[in-house]
Symmetry: C2
Subunit: 243 residues, 2 copies
DNA sequence: CGAGTTCTTGACAGTGATCAAGCGACGTGG
DNA sequence: CCACGTCGCTTGATCACTGTCAAGAACTCG
């Protein structure tokens, strides 16, 4: 579980990465793009179940996910765990560490993964040189703040089925943005992890899946989920708009 | 409610502001400090109940709170409201707007307030010039992300009394950092607003206050709260550490 | 001083948690 | 390739915390 992960020396450039539009700013000419490649020091592989970083670990780098799927989670002193997010290809992970120079959550790979290691010092240096990169980093952080605002709404105001509907819609939307199906999902996380993210117990998550399935809104078979009636899901998530 | 707020032309400098250490980076020499004064364009007064900015409004500036107390909140399509934070003197408000150039929440003054208007363009320009300022802004955003992670833990895993204990401890700690009492609070928000922040109904908040009061942990009289037994509060918030 | 807002408290209801049992999928090793 | 063990998932029964509804008290502010 805790073993050090393989550090790879392959130096691969953002400039010819097909995920560039997801994790890097757009609008660079090819010359500047070369310089921008310096944000990525190395790549690193993380096996399923392994930590990308852990709570209390020193913060040095942000990570751009190239392949794979992560969860971030925090635990309270008495051992209760809260999943704070699920991250997929093209997303940036590690922002929690900036404020104190130590990570305040665990990042765990839910499937074998590869990340680009971006030393934060490089990011800050290049941000001073390239306003586009500076702006991009600000937007990445602001986006995370806004996402968490939305989660607070989920956790504070929504009922179990609304939360799950919102979760599925968000997931499918992000997967679709990556060229995957708008209707079919293979979940990378357990019912318990979904429940932790949504402030529910795994049984409640399971029951909500079953209910949606009975109502013909989705088809569920373990980790496989097919969305049959996305409008019905949106209606559950957001009743008023549809009344 | 929505009327435009008074824009004041008084140009006041960070360099001789007693809140500088709360909202600005430390370690500047006096010459650089002069330049840093350029982040603040003007000040603005906001009356109790008025909006500092509203959901959907164009984002141009961050605001540093000089005096007063704010809440930020979002509403779902069907009108449910979620308070996403309470902000006090020295704190920065408006980070939600960076990602899309539009604000995604409402910021409402809970008492008459004055803020420093910091055009974001100024902040970005000066951040490129002053690494200390750049680092500071990154930390401010990261701190907000980490704070929201903590709220997710509250909302997802804690029970009503744990949430209220955490809320009171957090509030008193922030007030103490501003030179106010460690034991006495005058709440600026209603039970309903506290409840919204904590994912509870106002009656539940009221009952938790009453329970703490009966147990001799706090003394409550409407908005006035005195913490008699902070250790008991910490124990409620975080049971395991004390067993 | 009075109207309206905020807060408290009680009674009851409902959503989701808890406890429990069994099923199904998957991976490993014989 | 099959048997078996483990882990994850489903489903049922019951319980408890918090929500809802209601009424009245206390406070605030014009």
């Amino acid at each position: 579980m805790n073993q050090p992960t393989i550090q790879e020396a392959i130096k691969v450039a953002c400039s010819n990465c097909n995920l560039r539009e997801l994790c890097m700013p757009v609008g660079f000419d090819s010359e500047d793009m070369q310089k921008l490649d310096e944000v990525v020091a190395t790549r690193r592989r993380v096996k399923q179940g392994d930590l990308l970083f852990a709570n209390g670990e020193e913060f040095t780098s942000l990570f751009a996910i190239r392949t794979g799927f992560f969860k971030t989670c925090i635990s309270s002193a008495d051992g209760r765990e809260q999943v704070t997010g699920f991250q997929m290809a093209g997303e940036i992970i590690g922002l929690d560490g900036i404020v104190s120079d130590f990570h305040s959550c665990n990042a765990i790979a839910l499937e074998d993964a590869e990340v680009c290691v971006m030393p934060f010092a490089n990011i800050e240096d290049l941000s001073r040189e390239f306003p586009l990169l500076q702006r991009h980093m600000h937007k990445v952080m602001s986006r995370e703040i806004v996402r968490e605002n939305g989660v607070m709404m989920l956790l504070g105001n929504m009922r179990a089925e609304e939360r799950l509907a919102a979760f599925l819609l968000n997931l499918v939307q992000r997967l679709h943005a990556r060229g995957l199906s708008q209707t079919e999902i293979v979940l990378r996380m357990t019912r318990e992890e979904i429940g932790s993210y949504l402030g529910l117990k795994l049984e409640t998550v399971s029951r909500a899946f079953s209910k949606f399935s009975e109502e013909g809104i989705i088809e569920v078979k373990q980790r496989y989920v097919r969305i049959i009636d996305p409008e019905a899901l949106k209606k559950i998530f957001n009743p008023q708009t549809y009344c």
